[in-house]
Subunit: 339 residues, 2 copies
């Protein structure tokens, strides 16, 4: 068991079982039409030798590698990891392995790794890609996108989500509502959330001055900066809808640093409902995306496509739901940031 370990190949197993390589290959792939006796003998030889297929050889030979490639911007992005957790469990159950690669939001890297996966994986899961990379895969392997860009997508109803968040603030009595936007230049999701925000304001007859929308790039740091900008305006908003939880966390930090209490002086709503949202101080009111479930669904769709089953859905949309926690309240008296 703890030998220096030499690579065991199909040929070794074949020799050991006294059959041809093909017979071993057929056993491994559960091909029908073969005597149970041989099948068992081969199986024993496989166990005895400790043989495991070489995925590179298998992929090269033009057949499936049992790998699902995943492209995600970052590995420590809660939004992505919660989705991928769901996907991972599903893939597991189907006997497929998730091979995860990061793209650092870099278009060149994204493209490069996509090309790499084209020859390595049986299918690809694209997590919020910055562009539709569908053409890279052509019909070489199936692709499912988590996000708005793509041929087959799984996502949440961003527009309704943005409207829900904003409407919640309106219902609380807020009239000056700011927005910390996401990466609108590359992600349709961000654009849609902002559109929902505007739609709700419009429907309520509330103003939406341009200065009330600041870019937070979906990150904590830039969310913090955006919130600081909003809260130090001559006439600052009393409530902020942040395009995701991370920028909302940054916004809470900015408010606190300015001596403002959340939610007494400023209300803040996030988007995603990542794990930290329920644990943080104050617990974050947010728009929930069923992340794990979305991951599961996307993985299942991809697996079906890999298996060649007919799936006609092109765009699966999950509902967004409002989760009210402690970061929102009716507008208070203190309006301007001290210090």
């Amino acid at each position: 068991m703890s030998e220096p370990f030499v690579a065991v190949t199909l040929a070794d197993v074949a020799r050991s079982a006294g059959v041809s390589k093909m017979t071993v290959s057929n056993v491994i792939n559960n091909k029908p039409g073969m005597s149970d006796a041989t099948r068992e003998r081969v199986q024993r030889a496989i166990n005895a030798t400790g043989y495991v297929v070489n995925p590179a050889a298998r992929a090269l030979s033009g057949r499936r590698s049992n790998l699902i490639g995943v492209l995600t911007p970052h590995i420590n992005l809660p939004f992505a990891t919660e989705i991928l957790h769901g996907a991972s469990v599903t893939a597991e159950a189907a006997g497929l392995n998730l091979a995860i690669f990061t793209t650092a939001n870099n278009v060149t890297l994204e493209r490069e790794r996509a090309t790499l996966l084209r020859t390595l994986a049986d299918g690809v899961l694209l997590v919020i890609p910055s562009a539709d990379e569908h053409h890279i895969f052509g019909n070489a392997i199936p692709v499912v996108t988590l996000g708005a860009h793509g041929h087959r997508t799984v996502q949440v109803d961003n527009h309704t989500g943005g409207a829900l968040a904003t409407q919640h603030l309106i219902d609380l009595g807020h009239t000056r509502i700011g927005h910390i936007a996401g990466m609108r230049d590359v992600l349709r999701d961000a654009v849609d959330r902002q559109a929902g925000y505007h739609a709700a304001l419009l429907a309520a007859g509330l103003p939406a001055p341009e200065a009330y929308v600041q870019d937070g790039e979906f990150s904590e740091e830039l969310g913090e900066r955006a919130a600081r900008t909003l809260l130090t305006l001559p006439e600052p908003p009393t409530a902020i809808f942040a395009a995701n939880d991370r920028s909302a966390i940054g916004a809470v930090r900015a408010a606190t640093a300015l001596g403002l209490n959340v939610p007494r002086n400023v209300s803040i709503v996030g988007f995603d409902d990542i794990h930290a949202a329920s644990v943080m101080d104050p617990p974050l009111t947010t728009i929930r995306q069923p992340l794990e479930e979305m991951g599961t669904t996307a993985a299942q769709l991809l697996i079906d496509l890999i298996r060649g089953e007919e799936r006609t859905e092109m765009h699966i949309c999950f509902p967004a739901t409002l989760i009210v926690r402690g970061s929102t309240a009716p507008p208070g008296r203190t309006q301007s940031a001290s210090s």
Copy 2:
């Protein structure tokens, strides 16, 4: 650019450039000894055709695949993702790709995927494996472990960390200090942290009843349950040292559910300093591991080994530091859990 995309091979580029496959291969691998003219002509052909190497073929042919394999228990494990973020940036810079696989803390899966990586990757990063899987790799490819099990390891000083956490509670005046342990049956790290806890208690002449140590398995759910057990003992501890931040988060939840205020009625210390620790309510006092830096160091060590450079360090140990936040205070008057 948006053509259905046909796979371009070395042969295609060679034909297009009017040279042999080998020359193209040599250009791609920056092999010396070749006229600049040819090199440039080939380079042009590569760009024109949009050629990208097939990693499967490369790996099969016995040469490096430019892939670093990673095995991690879960994809949404903050401890792991923060380490891997550091590793990812480093690998990036060296032109290597991180391919991340999960093991779900399942020994069989761990072994299976390790074997898979042996033929697929140039080197492997094992994140807190449940056993030393070194033998699987033999000297086929180098391995670096983040955790205590392994031939080459990168980890934090767990013993000192455990002692620091406990000493901090002792310094605050606590005399009844409980411990929520990790997966001691599979992880030496957990054993070491508990040993540090015991050492500190012993040095201070404080009691360490057996019931004061409960297993939390490093998870939020079991951490919560363990804390509930501790806090409902006839003579409950006034302070708890949890073996990691996730179980500490569970402990805070349990205390709150029991009507206890943290830190007024119970002090809680975690371990890791994951991102959530600083954001949660109350902010968690914890033992910091420099996770990103550990990831960077591990990746660099592995890359050097892959490149064949001599690195003699077998065990790199980072210091653990105490971060005091809001979850610890001197013992209060209220000792027993109400309801």
